[in-house]
């Protein structure tokens, strides 16, 4: 029987936590490679079955979709660890091991209970990754983050219980959102995908991770959500408007944002929105597109966050566009890597984004959904605007900030280089990726019309950026989001309530104190040295207590 690939990483966490120095580095890179090997040993169909209470669990079940996602998760764990090799915090990497192991575990789960178990493992491990950044802000963000994910897990669990009661089966098969249990399961999945109204957890939490922690965070949670949506709810029409909302939400908020890593966090919402639309379309073309886009997205988003993380590390923690600029002079390699990631996310021809995202648009065209198709075309231009130009421009170019940070250490450069090669490699030679997609691919990305129309969309988006540059100048601001309801409003309410509660508490307490004072004075009057009851005190009280004890022992004896 093949090893469960997710468990390799989860057990690897213990090994990595114990090791030091060179051995730790070897383990950090070796376990993800071992996992990748194990992923490809899992045959199609149920491999492992366990009886649990009245149900039969399938903790290990192979399939094309499972293999695709587990493959990219293992590659991501490898590259992320390579990038994080000299992270001084010793908690982050083991937590990232468990986190990526949970993601791989979800991919091979054949039943909903196993999905739930790995789902919660991911929630806890990712919180630790975030918390390992060590700052006060990271701690606060990690607490908000874990509450949101436990809430999502609760929705999922409630739906799961209802679903089992309804169907009598725990098997993870395609569902239709047509009953309260399936709605709840879908809602639980969507919370992790960063869908409205809970999108705000993502840009709230991810930018607070360490320079390497955010790279891990960007990859697993939202893409595992895309995986379970692809497997559980393909063709659920409600996902189309939800995905479109996420796409434009990401663009608009990223345009207003000043923090470089929060720009990229908003753009995760945007990119996952494309995938959610693909799931909602549900055709073979669209499902292939969503799956391929998740694969390529993990690579270029990690590459972008690695270049941002390098800037963060080498400038001593500067993360605001208003503090950065002109870094291309002393960090040309990092700038080039960031630009390759930016080209890929914008789906320029010859990059990985081009060969994946266009399949989702094709799915919309095939379904004759004009509104969706035009929205996706506008969004493609918008991606270049908010991430493709905005990120490299404000970080590496614009005005000179006077900062001259050196390039990051070799391992970080290698991690970026590896992913940059994949971004371009998959763009030039998409066949290996197409070969492992869930359905046979009948799609040619490189036609003259497709290349030309995409270049028109992108280059004229670039023109709009530079013409509107005065409107795009960064300010020292944040933009309120739905997290205001639990960060701003709740705090205001708590403060207002607490002053009232304090006042009434003081009133009650002072009344209580006065009562106790009166009681003591009364007792002193009657039982004190001059009190009337003090005269019979020794014998009187002894008889009383003997009687009380007798009564108590009789009661105990009686009730036994």
């Amino acid at each position: 029987m093949p090893l469960p690939p997710g468990l390799i990483l989860i057990l690897g966490a213990v090994v990595v936590a114990a090791l030091h120095g060179r051995a730790r580095q070897v383990a950090a890179l070796g376990f993800p490679l071992l996992t990748l090997w194990a992923v490809w040993l899992v045959p199609d169909g149920a491999v492992l079955r366990l009886d649990f209470l009245d149900y039969t669990l399938t903790p290990l079940e192979g399939g094309r979709l499972s293999r695709l996602f587990a493959t990219i998760f293992a590659i991501m764990a490898f590259s992320g660890n390579l990038f994080a090799l000299n992270q001084p915090n010793r908690v982050e990497m083991p937590a990232a091991f468990v986190y990526s192991g949970g993601a791989v575990g979800v991919c091979f789960a054949g039943d909903l209970i196993t999905v739930f178990v790995f789902w919660e493992i991911m929630a806890v491990a990712s919180t630790v990754v975030l918390w390992a950044a060590g700052s006060e802000n990271a701690y606060r963000a990690s607490m908000r983050y874990v509450l949101m994910h436990l809430f999502g897990g609760m929705l999922f669990m409630a739906g799961l219980v209802g679903y089992v009661a309804e169907t009598g089966s725990v098997d993870f098969v395609a569902m239709r959102p047509e009953s309260p249990p399936t709605w709840l399961i879908l809602a639980g999945f969507l919370v992790n995908a960063g869908a409205p109204p809970f999108s705000a957890w993502l840009p709230d939490a991810y930018p607070e991770g360490s320079y390497s922690g955010t790279v891990f965070l960007s990859a697993f949670t939202t893409k595992t959500a895309v995986y379970v949506l692809l497997r559980g709810f393909p063709g659920a029409e409600v996902l189309i408007p939800i995905g479109l909302y996420m796409i434009f939400y990401g663009i608009v908020y990223a345009l207003l944002e000043n923090d470089m890593r929060r720009i990229l966090a908003y753009s995760i919402c945007n990119q996952v929105g494309f995938m959610v639309v693909g799931v909602g379309l549900g055709s073979e073309m669209a499902v292939n597109g969503a799956a391929a886009h998740a694969f390529t997205h993990i690579i270029y988003k990690a590459l972008l966050l690695m270049s941002a993380g390098s800037v963060l590390l080498m400038t001593g923690g500067r993360r605001k566009c208003t503090d950065l600029g002109g870094l291309f002079k002393s960090m040309p390699y990092t700038a080039a890597m960031g630009i390759i990631g930016a080209m890929a996310i914008s789906s320029f021809p010859l990059t990985s984004g081009f060969i994946s995202k266009s399949m989702i648009s094709q799915g919309a065209a095939d379904a004759h959904l004009a509104f969706v198709w035009f929205a996706l075309a506008a969004a493609s231009a918008g991606v270049f605007l908010h991430a493709g130009i905005k990120f490299p421009w404000f970080v590496f170019f614009q005005r000179d900030s006077g900062l001259r940070p050196p390039e990051p250490p070799l391992n970080m450069k290698l991690a970026m280089g590896f992913f940059a090669v994949l971004c371009i490699g998959l763009g030039v030679w998409p066949e290996p990726l197409y070969a492992i997609l869930p359905y046979p691919v009948d799609y040619v990305p490189y036609t003259v019309s497709h290349v030309v129309t995409m270049l028109q969309l992108l280059l004229f988006s670039g023109l709009a950026f530079f013409l509107l540059l005065p409107l795009m100048q960064r300010t020292l601001t944040i933009t309120l989001d739905t997290d205001w309801f639990y960060r701003g409003l709740s705090k205001w309410a708590a403060r207002a309530l607490s002053s009232r509660i304090k006042a009434s508490y003081e009133q009650v307490w002072s009344g209580f104190e006065a009562g106790v004072d009166r009681l003591i004075a009364g007792l002193f009057r009657h039982h004190g040295p001059h009190g009337i009851l003090a005269r019979t005190w020794p014998t009187g009280s002894m008889v009383l207590w003997a009687a009380a004890l007798l009564a108590a022992s009789m009661m105990i004896y009686y009730f036994r």
């Binding site: 608009v252 030309v452 969309l457 004229f460 023109l463 409107l471 601001t477 701003g488």
Partner: protein
């Protein structure tokens, strides 16, 4: 300044970048002549449609974001202050 001016920062480079950029834009629009359009929804077969659409969509998104910013932008210490009080 002791540091030599980077070639990307020279006014001359900037001049040629803008020139080259506009030439590239014109070329991508002209490239519409290279193929027989197979529009999915009629209008997307119009000459230069994607160029105009991409440009206008971006302008609309930037203006919308600007408008939303007027309502929702706060100083970036907004939540920190809320925590201290």
């Amino acid at each position: 300044m002791s540091e030599q001016q980077h070639w990307l920062e020279r006014p001359r480079t900037n001049y040629w970048l803008w020139r080259g950029g506009f030439a590239l834009l014109a070329l991508t629009v002209l490239a519409d002549l290279l193929y027989e359009p197979h529009p999915y929804f009629l209008v997307d077969g119009i000459f230069g449609f994607h160029a105009a659409y991409g440009f206008l969509a971006c302008v609309a998104m930037v203006l919308f974001a600007k408008l939303l910013g007027l309502i929702l932008k706060r100083d970036d210490a907004y939540y920190d202050e809320a925590q201290e009080r």
